[in-house]
Symmetry: C2
Subunit: 234 residues, 2 copies
DNA sequence: AGAGATCTTTGCGCCAACGCAAATAGGAGA
DNA sequence: TCTCCTATTTGCGTTGGCGCAAAGATCTCT
């Protein structure tokens, strides 16, 4: 695991508007945890004992169906918290947190984080704000899944990825971690095959590009059209 | 609007473990809002200005698609908060809150609730716990919508309804508010027709009963089977 | 009791997306 | 460079569930 650019913690949403001393207090009691590509911070159904803040790398939160199907609940970018919802009352993590690139996270245990919230109520407000955002996003995806068809769901998923983890290059916007068709299928609630079909079509139309495990968004404007209005032509 | 049984606020999850004085403080600054069946506490896209706690009645939170489709995000039972996620950071309500029976709620405005959280950090912990639960439920439903088919989703929806708002009678478990096929469709991400087909089948098999706008669950055990294992026979 | 409105059931055709299967392509390691 | 392994593409048959449509049911209001 080489030098990975580290996230400046003062920019984490959780710490917005919190005074430096309080942050320092929290950092002092945090544990660092570094894992390699493909390993996990925690498994679904592990007892939920800690709260994580991603410093570098990229993580996906996945739920597994009892008959094997996988669903990507969320992608985690540096600066974001994960695996904490359950710390506040749940007993198990609701999903597994798997690293899609080598990753480092700060980890606080249950008790510590509860004490910190009690000691710094502003932290609690921030946390509530973040949770609210998560909830809204989940509900939006619920609506999409219930009412929209695959092509549009995929367009939305790509736009979210671009916003959260897009790197603008000369060619277009590239997603900062390996993106397979399979994972896009797990994100949109579709099959590998359907996603592949749609993406090869988009590739031909020049909307997207990139090869194996690589996703390049060339025409964000047109992808936005697909995500919102009725598709013009196939 | 006749006499409706009022919920004892000390039993609200939000207030668990909070001392009586703090609760009294909060109640002192709360507004009561009563609305009739069919009207709304707030509309989707209204500026999110207040936080609600349902005292009596039943409310549904619905999101509307731009082409008319409706999705039920959540059913609210007495004692539960709603329309607050957005108060913590959002600008608009993410869904409309429509009364399914005459309903009464306590309402706090944005500033008040923020002050209360800052003054009583234990309240913040409770709130975080509740939000975490909501988030987990939303993520579970995401997984269901992505991987399960309508019949099973319906079974799960009915079980959730039974748990949250079921009234056990001599005949079976009855849902405490009017339940149309349409609203079940909006809850499961299916169409009215598909739901109707499934339910008439279940009615014939003796799993469910009840007529227009009325839902009676007769065989919870068998419904649970449908919700989990593979369906044995159609 | 009758009229109208709303909710529910049911039939039928259709299509988006799945599931299976087999071919192709790109990377990693020896 | 060759081999193995994993990712991707593409064809083809199948189907769950949608969409349209029309016929009952049940409730409400006059």
């Amino acid at each position: 695991m080489a030098n990975i650019p580290k996230f400046d913690l003062r920019n984490a949403t959780l710490f917005a508007g919190i005074n430096g001393c309080a942050i320092a207090d929290l950092l002092a009691v945090a544990q660092y945890k570094a894992i390699l590509y493909g390993s996990v911070f925690f498994h679904e159904e592990d007892p939920a004992s800690s709260c994580h803040l991603l410093i570098s790398g990229h993580v996906k939160l996945v739920q597994h169906n009892f008959d094997g199907a996988q669903v990507v609940v969320r992608f985690v970018a540096p600066g974001q918290m994960f695996g904490w919802a359950s710390v506040m009352g749940g007993r198990h993590y609701p999903a597994s947190a798997e690293a899609m690139t080598d990753s480092v996270a700060l980890v606080w245990d249950n008790q510590t984080i509860r004490r910190a919230v009690l000691a710094h109520p502003a932290l609690a407000l921030n946390a509530l704000g973040i949770m609210g955002g998560r909830l809204r996003e989940a509900e939006d995806r619920l609506r999409e899944l219930a009412t929209e068809r695959v092509e549009r769901r995929l367009a939305r998923a790509l736009l979210r990825l671009a916003e959260q983890s897009g790197v603008v290059t000369a060619e277009g916007t590239e997603i900062a971690f390996p993106v397979s068709r399979q994972i896009l299928a797990d994100t949109t609630g579709a099959t590998l095959h359907t996603i592949s079909r749609i993406l090869s079509n988009w590739d031909q139309r020049g909307l997207t590009g990139g090869g194996r495990q690589k996703l390049l968004l060339l025409r964000l404007d047109q992808i936005k059209d697909l995500a919102e209005s009725d598709d013009a032509a196939s």
